[in-house]
């Protein structure tokens, strides 16, 4: 490039490290977003320990455990898909991502049935059975719906994120040498997993 001048550090260059740093910073905001809810949870649980215990018996530990295993497995597949693409094996990477998406769908389906069962039994805010519950138990269910709902939303977002990356791997714009987007979607997916790791004992395992 004769007769031209360019700055060594340019905001217009592709910079994998910058986008990784950016992703991590974004994850902090996600952590604190849920952090706010964990604060509320902590306070209300400290104020109503017994009610939270009784309310938690309404959840099915085994469904929760299955979902935990599903999410952990999907975390592994997404991590492996990064390994695959870094080794140049796009095909394997795609298969592993497809498994991840499948796991996300399974997770959501199970959640759907869990929520459905709760609502059928009248546990949704405003329903008859619900308004008769003691205060602490109502708070428990408010938190349950709010936190798992928000988490479910993140599962959906992560899924869409992964689907987009899959498309990019297919058309070759994510490849052996340039795969930060895949890594970032992996990071996001792990975050979804991380949050569930805390939600699970806090709601299902109060016993």
């Amino acid at each position: 490039m004769e007769h031209s001048f360019s700055l060594p550090n340019s905001g217009h260059n592709y910079d994998a490290k910058a986008s990784k740093l950016g992703m991590w910073l974004f994850l902090y905001t996600e952590l604190l977003l849920f952090g706010g809810l964990f604060m509320v949870y902590m306070v209300y649980r400290a104020l109503n320990p017994d009610a939270f215990l009784i309310a938690s018996f309404n959840l099915n530990v085994w469904l929760g455990t299955i979902n935990t295993v599903v999410l952990l497995t999907s975390s592994m597949t997404v991590a492996m898909s990064i390994t695959a693409i870094q080794k140049g094996n796009s095909k394997l990477s795609l298969i592993l991502l497809a498994l991840t998406v499948a796991a996300a769908v399974i997770f959501l389906v199970i959640k759907y049935f869990e929520w459905g069962a709760k609502i059928e039994h009248g546990f949704w805010p405003g329903m008859d059975h619900f308004t008769n519950l003691p205060f602490g138990e109502q708070l428990y269910f408010y938190l349950y719906f709010f936190m798992t709902g928000l988490h479910g939303l993140h599962v959906v977002v992560g899924m869409v994120f992964i689907l987009i990356v899959m498309k990019k791997i297919k058309n070759g714009s994510q490849n052996k040498n340039k795969n930060q987007l895949l890594e970032n979607s992996g990071l996001y997916w792990h975050l979804v997993d991380l949050i569930w790791i805390y939600l699970f004992p806090l709601f299902y395992l109060i016993h």
Partner: protein, 95 residues
């Protein structure tokens, strides 16, 4: 990219997964069958959850192989959050 980066092997990911699953069963087991531990169950459940979180962050999220700054930053963020929790609950415990 100019500098080489670490590629985690499949076996390591699998090993990570196995340990996470084991921890999950452990925490479920303690909670379902060890109910007489009372408040201790909360503590153990949270402790195991934190171990799991650390494993995910270190191996799946690659923190172990990232530059130190990433570990320092997450440490600062998490300790801030913990201080928030402490200061918040302090108010309720001293009312």
């Amino acid at each position: 990219m100019e500098d080489s980066y670490h590629i985690t092997g499949y076996a390591e990911h699998f090993g990570t997964w196995v340990s996470l699953i084991l921890l999950t069963f452990m925490t479920v087991f303690i909670s379902v069958f060890g109910a007489d531990l009372n408040t201790l169950t909360v503590a153990t459940a949270l402790f195991i959850a934190s171990v799991k979180a650390l494993v995910v962050a270190y191996y799946f999220m690659h923190l172990k192989y990232d530059p130190k700054i990433y570990r320092i930053m997450i440490l600062i963020v998490m300790s801030m959050f913990v201080i928030f929790l402490i200061m918040l609950i302090f108010d309720y415990l001293t009312r």
